[in-house]
């Protein structure tokens, strides 16, 4: 699956890139909300992992933009607990909210859910 990973912290990007690529997905990286929207515009993804707190454009704003671009695109927000912004994101149509630091299994669980729902649609 084509997955977009957006986080301002390089180690998160690096980790997710390695793990997801190892799992067999095609991973694109973004550093902030603006890059996230650009990527969504230019490519089609199956899932987006997006951090909430980012410079220039945060996750919530990016989510709103992405939603208007691709209403069906699954977006999983990542944040530190507790976070009001993340709760708001949920209300805006985020698939789920992951609290950092997360287990790798949580990531994979979300991916499996998205894959199975895509299959269902098909």
């Amino acid at each position: 699956m084509k997955i977009l990973v957006v986080d301002d912290d390089p180690i998160i990007r690096k980790l997710l890139f390695e793990v997801l690529t190892n799992d067999g997905h095609e991973v694109t990286l973004g550093r902030d909300g603006i890059e996230a929207v650009k990527n969504v515009e230019s490519q089609s993804f199956g899932l987006v992992f997006m951090d909430v707190h980012m410079p220039r454009m945060n996750g919530l704003e990016a989510l709103i933009a992405i939603r208007s671009l691709c209403p069906d695109l699954a977006v999983a927000m990542m944040d530190s607990y507790p976070d009001l912004l993340a709760q708001q994101a949920q209300g805006r149509g985020a698939l789920t909210c992951m609290h950092k630091p997360f287990d790798l299994e949580e990531i994979r669980k979300i991916i499996r859910e998205v894959e199975s729902s895509i299959l269902k649609e098909q």
């Binding site: 980790l15 190892n22 454009m57």
Partner: protein, 566 residues
């Protein structure tokens, strides 16, 4: 009633007694003198009358004897007079002055008379008796001389004795001689003397009795006055208990009853005053007790207030710390994510392929995972260290020479992340060689943190935060300003923002205490915070602090150089 009064030498009693005595004396003396005088004259007059009468009678009776010049006749007539004790001589002379008959009680009288014979030729008409005063040999006497008269008528012998001579128109009075009687004044004198003595004695008696009476009466009259005086002395010495017992119906009585009324009214006044006094004392006690109670309440309120203030500062600090902690927690989650992720990834790798089958690439990957883990762990450490720096520095509670630039930089080390991830650009204009101020480092850090975070929150869309430090030498001030490019603060809120609990944020987002606590902390440093703002353009918060008066250098500043708290 015993009157224990000091004796007044010129007191009422003395005055009255002296006056009355004087009056009595004077009157008595005058009266007695008058009396004596009168009596004397009376006695004298009596004597004169007697003398005159004797002389007259003798003259009258001697008419025949003189006419016939019969000495025995005349002597006979005179005899009667010798019996009178006071008669000292009698003499009858004829017209020519020849003694027809004379008698004297003593030889001296004889002589005396003879030496001064009376010539009857020039004599007063009528019944006038001549009185003459003689003093001889220490004896006084009067001599009364009366002319002897006869009536010559032109008539025959036969008519003599039958017809009344006096009715005869041819009657002519003629003086034929004199009769004189001498009366000793001795009797008179002694009578006068006796009388005088009696009168004087009487006077003395009267005066004495009068004085005694006066003393007695004055005593009686003055007694009420003395009682009054005594009473006033009692009152003067503070004793209002007894009244004056004087009930005479005169002015003293009136005075006494007025005095008694006065005492009563005085006593009432005194009682009233004492009453007021007691009331006053009671009120003062009550009021004092109230005041003490209020004082205690105020003291305890003050204590509570101070404690609350300390707590609030702590709360703010904790909130700041909390905010930082939230930021730091945020911070930690990423490296922890890396550590957890790579640890799990490495474990998965081992599960898939045991170590023994590791190729070079696998080993290299594995080592990289470990290095990443190590790196992220170090990152965690430094984040935590920064946080501890903030809380550790707050344990230093003293005021010391402080370099504000250093404080700004330290504050930025743990707020920089939050600033930058909020898309806020940070600009620093720190003046070099800033003079030191006497400051409390952790408090200043707290204030600067508060202002920085406020600025960041004012720019949710991002913007620029400019932190500047500058010294104003003419005013001995250092200005640290935090300028944002946010929405600005409405004019009507500008002076409210430093009020406690004033907040434009929603419930749950911030306590509203930050600025008020910061304001208080800066006031504690002897400075103030000023704010200017333009709607739509941003706000500038300027912290103004006085330059330290101590001549400490920047290097020694941070080594705990003790300064008396300013």
């Amino acid at each position: 009633m015993t009157l224990r009064l000091r004796h007044l030498p010129m007191g009422l009693k003395t005055k009255f007694v002296l006056t009355i005595s004087f009056l009595i004396l004077v009157t008595s003396v005058i009266l007695s003198v008058f009396l004596i005088e009168k009596q004397s004259r009376l006695i004298q007059r009596e004597l004169e009358k007697r003398g005159e009468s004797m002389a007259r009678n003798l003259a009258h009776n001697s008419e025949y004897g003189v006419l016939v010049e019969s000495e025995p006749l005349l002597s006979n007539l005179m005899e009667g007079l010798f019996l009178e004790e006071e008669v000292v001589h009698v003499a009858i002379s004829n017209r020519k002055g020849t003694l027809l008959a004379d008698w004297g009680r003593t030889e001296e009288y004889h002589r005396m008379y003879r030496e001064r014979s009376y010539s009857p030729s020039a004599g007063p008409p009528g019944q006038a008796v001549l009185k003459r005063y003689f003093v001889a040999h220490g004896m006084e006497f009067y001599s009364f001389t009366c002319p002897i008269r006869t009536t010559r008528v032109e008539r025959s012998k036969e008519e003599v004795g039958i017809l009344d001579d006096k009715k005869d128109p041819t009657a002519r009075e003629e003086i034929i001689g004199t009769a004189s009687v001498g009366l000793s004044l001795q009797n008179m004198r002694s009578e006068i003397a006796d009388m005088t003595r009696i009168v004087v004695l009487l006077t003395v008696l009267v005066v004495a009795v009068g004085i005694l009476l006066a003393v007695f009466l004055v005593n009686i009259f003055v007694r009420p006055v003395k009682r009054l005086v005594y009473a006033t002395e009692r009152v003067a010495s503070g004793n209002l208990s007894q009244m004056v017992n004087v009930t005479t119906k005169d002015e003293i009585g009136t005075l006494a009853s007025s005095f008694n009324r006065m005492i009563v009214s005085l006593q009432e006044s005194r009682d009233k005053i004492e009453e007021y006094n007691r009331t006053l004392e009671r009120k003062v006690r009550e009021r004092t007790a109230e005041l003490e109670k209020t004082n205690r309440e105020l003291e305890s309120a003050l204590k509570t207030l101070k404690e609350t203030q300390v707590q609030l500062i702590q709360v703010e600090k904790m909130a700041a710390v909390g905010q930082l902690a939230a930021g730091v927690a945020h911070e930690l989650n990423n490296p922890l994510g890396g550590i957890l992720g790579y640890s799990q990834f490495a474990l998965e790798k081992i599960n898939q392929k045991p170590f023994s089958q590791f190729g070079r690439e696998d080993t290299a990957d594995f080592l990289q995972y470990l290095r990443d883990i190590e790196q992220q762990t170090k990152r965690c450490r430094s984040i935590i260290q920064n946080l501890l720096k903030f809380s550790r520095s707050s344990r230093k509670e003293e005021f010391e020479p402080t370099d504000l630039n250093q404080v700004v930089n330290e504050t930025l080390t743990f707020t920089r992340h939050q600033v930058e991830r909020s898309k806020v650009k940070l600009v620093q204009n720190l003046e070099e060689d800033l003079p030191l101020i006497t400051g409390h480092v952790s408090q200043l850090q707290q204030v600067f943190t508060n202002l920085i975070l406020n600025a960041v929150q004012a720019m949710p869309q991002g913007g620029t935060l400019t932190i500047s430090t500058a010294v104003y030498r003419d005013k001995d001030e250092i200005h640290v300003s935090f300028a944002d490019t946010g929405e600005g603060i409405p004019k009507e809120n500008l002076d409210k923002i430093f009020e406690p609990f004033f907040s434009t944020k929603r419930v749950g987002e911030g306590t509203g205490l930050g600025l008020s606590v910061s304001y208080g902390l800066i006031r504690n440093h002897g400075g103030e915070i000023k704010v200017t703002s333009e709607k739509g353009q941003g706000s500038v918060f300027t912290v103004i602090l006085p330059v330290s008066q101590e001549k400490a250098t920047a290097e020694s500043g941070r080594q705990g150089h003790q300064v008396s708290s300013g």
